[in-house]
Amino acid sequence: MTPLYIVLALFAFAGLLLALSYNRLVRLRNKVVEAWQDVDVQLQRRHDLIPRLVEVVRGYAAHENELFAELARLRSEAEGARGAAAKSAPESELALAIAGTIAVAESYPSLRAAENFLSLQKEIAETEDEVAAARTIYNGNVCIYNTRIQTFPVSFYADVLGFEPAAFFQADTSGIV
């Protein structure tokens, strides 16, 4: 009888470890989702600033139509993309286009000194800081989650339980303000 009890105890112990590991994976996956929602909120803030930026710059540099059209195109492209992997490239381009628009705006001395432009520029800088921070947190969570599901012994059953690696968000906003 004793060997049977030992085997049963081992199975129960393994089952407990599996349950704990599963719960931890679920928590980590939820963290990744939660952090992505934060990134999304900050990206939406960035998108919402674009019409204001265009409006302010247009008042002083109406002939920069190509620049405004490009901003509008990149914004709709970025808004159309879903998920971290798909958003990486368009958001990068959009961030660079915003930085480019601000650089153009700064070449107009009267615009550079305008109060509404200065306050918008500050708001854009703050938003970019929050985007960068939200991205850091998201990528940190992805790193912890991916490492967890790709290392022994979790790698044996993570796939079977439906835990797939998450994508990093690699938008490069270093060129902005």
Binding site: K31, Q37, E130, A133, I137, G140
Partner: protein
């Protein structure tokens, strides 16, 4: 007789060493436009500073820092056990934001023992609620707590950039066992370390590491004050 002489010698040596320490710190503080006092009462205006069976304080440095008056000192928290006392030394930076920022926010080091206790018996801290923020790395190193029903206030304050500042601090001081507490307008930053004339640069290192967090809190308190009372209550979560 011989024992008495040895004791007298030891006491004399300790006094000389203590005076040398005070002279060194006083000179060191004066060079940086800070004021030094060897003794004083510990601050007790945040929950952790009040905690412990006994508290001792020494080596007070006060001066103008990050846009505010600040005091840095050695805080000792003593917990009495059945047979002995357990003393933990913290370097504390204490300052006021001028205006209340939040009813209570505690950011304390993560402990596996506390986590296990929480899982088994629920959360029983001196504060109401433990909050899990979006960063897994923050959860690995810190526990964030606030008064029950004030979670939204904390979530609004701890934006992604604030979380990244805390993580940057943790990375720069991995063995520091750091704590942050805000009670209304009172702020206390604590690190489990001991001040020593042999390593005076520790003070400057800590002040440099704390500066971005303090500046952010000052800015937040300033912005909070600019909002009318009605808007503060109606802010979306």
């Amino acid at each position: 007789m011989a024992v008495g002489a040895i004791c007298a010698l030891f006491v004399g040596w300790a006094r000389v060493k203590g005076r040398a320490r005070e002279r060194f710190f006083a000179r060191w503080a004066a060079e940086r436009q800070w004021r030094y006092e060897a003794g004083g009462k510990p601050f007790e205006d945040t929950p952790f500073l009040r905690s412990g069976d006994k508290r001792k304080a020494s080596d007070f440095f006060s001066g103008f820092w990050a846009g505010s008056g600040a005091v840095l000192y050695q805080h000792k928290r003593i917990v009495e056990g059945d047979r002995d006392e357990q003393e933990t030394a913290y370097v504390v930076l204490h300052f006021s934001l001028g205006r209340p920022l939040i009813d209570l926010l505690q950011i304390s080091p993560h402990s596996h023992a506390a986590e296990l206790g929480e899982k088994l018996f629920g959360y029983h801290g001196e504060i109401g609620e433990r909050i899990e923020l979006e960063s897994a790395e923050l959860d690995q190193h810190f526990r964030v707590g606030c008064l029950r029903g004030r979670e939204d206030e904390v979530r609004r304050l701890l934006t992604p950039s604030a979380i990244v500042r805390l993580l940057d601090f943790r990375r720069a001081l991995p063995d520091g066992n750091a704590r942050f507490e805000i009670l209304g307008s009172n702020v206390a930053f604590l690190v489990e370390k001991t001040l020593s004339p042999e390593r005076p640069q520790l003070i400057e290192e800590l002040l440099e590491l704390w500066r971005p967090i303090a500046s952010w809190l000052m800015k937040e308190a300033g912005e909070e004050a600019r909002l009318p009372a009605s808007a503060r209550e109606e802010q979306p979560s």
